[in-house]
Amino acid sequence: MVERNLKSNILMMKKLLVFTLIMFVFGYALVPFYEKFCEVTGINNLLQPDVLAKDNWVDEDRWITIELDANTRGLPWQFKSLQTSVRIHPGESVNVMYEITNDTDREISGQAIPSYSPRFLEKHLKKFECFCFTKQVLKPHETRQMPVQFVIEPGLPADIDTVTISYTFFELPGGASTATE
């Protein structure tokens, strides 16, 4: 009786340990699942170009000021936008230029992460071309000018007349390109 009990207890323990291990792996599996989920549903879509809605139109009666901001964090680059702000009509295609310079004697790769104000601007901002879609690799003392092309949809709430688009460059660990795959 006792012997049989011990055997079935140990079998039970093994099953539960395997289950525990599966759940530990499941915790890690949530990471690619989360990324895939965000990609499929279009939430948090930082690296893919957007598609403009077919019924887009230009609201000639309205002006929006776009302030352009550029920062670096933890990497020795000069990063600036060539205009500080642009005035546009919602719905029209806008082209702005940014410039990065590597002041050091080594090759550095960086990734830009966008940030918007107000936060819900993201829903109305359609980007077709951006240096933030891929990592940027700069040779020593190289300078590069990069365009961003986008449309702010006319659906942006009427009380908003100024928005800010900000980019921050982060250094990627040597050769690694986790963000751009």
């Binding site: 759940m23 530990f24 915790g27 989360y34 948090n44 992460i113």
Partner: protein, 526 residues
């Protein structure tokens, strides 16, 4: 009563004496007692931190704790109370009661049981010790969201290791409990004849093995983000800090049910005993517990309504959360129906159990209010949320622990506790608890944010009331300590069945105190 003494035949308790008895013990009763003492110690430490928080908030302005230290106090108060006090206390109850209530001689894996306990003091000292390392303890809140937790100092690493160890301990404990319950029940005790406390623990233990490994995973990711160059939660490296919140709350929401389901079990034992009626709707209780456990796994994002989520997601998590109110209401209904026309008496365990129902319902309702997305966006991170979860954790989980301790003390020690002092303990706890936390609803609705050591003058009066209540509540718990110690040391001898409405095996088949080795020959359950 002949049956009562059937198992009490004299054993030689051939265990080492002194400290080595406790270090080497594999006896479920010894280990249960150690769990309870450990959790009470942690409860006092966590309580000391709470007193510090309330002392700082007694008046507006910074008087006692600098903001950095205040943040460490709130963080460690949460971590210690959740992982150090409430959870081990319930495991302590499980260790003592599960074998006694199902007629098993001991836990399934006695040596592993010893190990799961002795991991706890290690983790506890890591947490407490983190106050004394450079940079101090973790200060980013008990939920340790990045980026604060990826940036903090050595204290955060100690916290991560403590959580790893506590997780390992919990998982081993749960494996032990599941195996004991499924494999070692007395002949005749079918699953649907098990006492409710055993049922709730079986389901809780499954929840633990389900989500504790996920917590272990998420803190491991945090650790590798901090020290090994990964970027799980670092936006610059392609990670996402919001993903941490999703994974954390995938653990965190079942965790709150891990802390309340055994409480439901304790209350479901006590209410029938003192109403002298069987539990109303036993099988619906079992199904309600199971459905709460299942639903608890699909509601996690209600903690993140303001973190950015599509409206569809908010709606799903809102309705799923509100759905949990249904099985919970079934339970409250059943407890009330058990008392209906019962011949009730109001000894201390019953008082705490009724206080539990009364106050837990308040906490449950404020939970439904917080589930409503537009309201949650207003009250998130305010004192309203603090009030809500202290109503379910203090007057919920903690009150049930008090109720259970008074209820089973005669079985554990063979002595009756002091009923008069017990009643004082209840009424003082009841009064001071509400004084502390009821006013926090008003503070939250008025917009006072949590985790801030200073506040606007308009909040001054309610904060002073709340702090006075907190000091009173804290002091009252020393009375509990006194009552327990004097009960262990002596007091009126308990009859073998001091509660005449009790029907479970530990009361019907064992004397008081329960012998060191019990049910070596399993009882037959009809």
């Amino acid at each position: 009563m002949a049956a009562v003494h059937g198992d009490a035949h004299g054993h030689d308790d051939h265990h080492p004496s002194g400290i080595m008895r406790w270090v080497t013990t594999t006896n479920h009763k010894d280990i249960g007692s150690m769990y309870l003492w450990f959790s009470f110690t942690m409860f006092l430490i966590g309580g000391f931190l709470a007193m510090g928080i309330r002392a700082e908030l007694y008046q507006p302005g910074i008087q006692i704790l600098e903001p950095e230290l205040f943040n460490q106090f709130t963080t460690l108060h949460g971590l210690i109370m959740v992982f150090g006090a409430i959870m081990p206390a319930f495991v302590g109850f499980a260790n003592w009661q599960v074998p006694l209530m199902i007629g098993a001689p001991d836990m399934a894996f006695a040596r592993m049981n010893n190990w799961s306990f002795w991991l706890l003091p290690v983790a506890g000292s890591l947490l407490v010790g983190s106050f004394f390392v450079p940079g101090g303890a973790a200060a980013g809140g008990w939920t340790f969201y990045p980026p604060l937790s990826t940036q903090g100092g050595l204290g955060v690493d100690l916290m991560i290791f403590a959580i790893h160890i506590l997780g390992a301990s919990s998982i081993m404990g749960s494996i032990n409990i599941i195996t004991t319950i499924l494999n070692m029940r007395a002949p005749g005790m079918t699953l649907m004849k098990m006492p409710m406390f055993v049922w709730t623990w079986l389901i809780t233990a499954y929840l633990l093995v389900l989500v504790m490994p996920v917590l272990a995973g998420v803190v491991t990711m945090l650790l590798t983000d901090r020290h090994f160059g990964t970027s799980f939660f670092n936006a610059a490296g392609g990670g996402d800090p919001v993903m941490f919140q999703h994974i954390f709350w995938f653990f965190g929401h079942p965790e709150v049910y891990i802390m309340i389901l055994p409480a439901f079990g304790i209350v479901s034992e006590i209410i029938p005993t003192f109403s002298r009626k069987p539990l109303f709707g036993y099988s619906s209780m079992v199904y309600a517990t199971a459905s709460i456990a299942i639903l608890s796994c699909v509601v996690w994002a209600h903690h993140m309504f303001t973190a950015g989520m599509p409206a569809v997601g908010q709606l799903f998590f809102m309705y799923a959360t509100m759905l949990i109110a249904v099985p919970t209401a079934v339970k409250v209904f059943n407890w009330t129906a058990t008392m209906w026309r019962g011949s009730m008496t109001f000894e201390t365990p019953m008082l705490f159990a009724i206080g539990f129902i009364f106050l837990f319902v308040i906490g449950g309702f404020s939970g439904v209010i917080c589930a409503i997305v537009p309201i949650d966006i207003q009250v998130q991170d305010t004192y309203y949320v603090i009030a809500h979860f202290h109503y379910v954790l203090v007057s919920g989980a903690l009150f049930s622990l008090f109720a259970g301790a008074y209820y089973w003390m005669p079985k554990w020690t063979g002595n009756m506790y002091n009923e008069t002092l017990g009643k004082w303990h209840f009424w003082l706890s009841m009064f001071f608890f509400n004084l502390t936390f009821f006013v926090q609803h008003f503070l939250g609705l008025a917009g006072m944010p949590r985790r801030i050591p200073d506040y606007n003058l308009q909040f001054a009066d309610f904060n002073m009331i709340s702090s006075i209540g907190a000091f009173g509540f804290g002091l009252t718990q020393l009375l509990f300590l006194y009552i327990m110690i004097s009960c262990i040391r002596g007091g009126e001898k308990a009859a073998d069945k001091p509660w005449d409405g009790a029907t479970t095996l530990e009361w019907t088949h064992l004397p008081c105190p329960a012998p060191y080795h019990s049910f070596e020959k399993p009882p037959i359950v009809k």
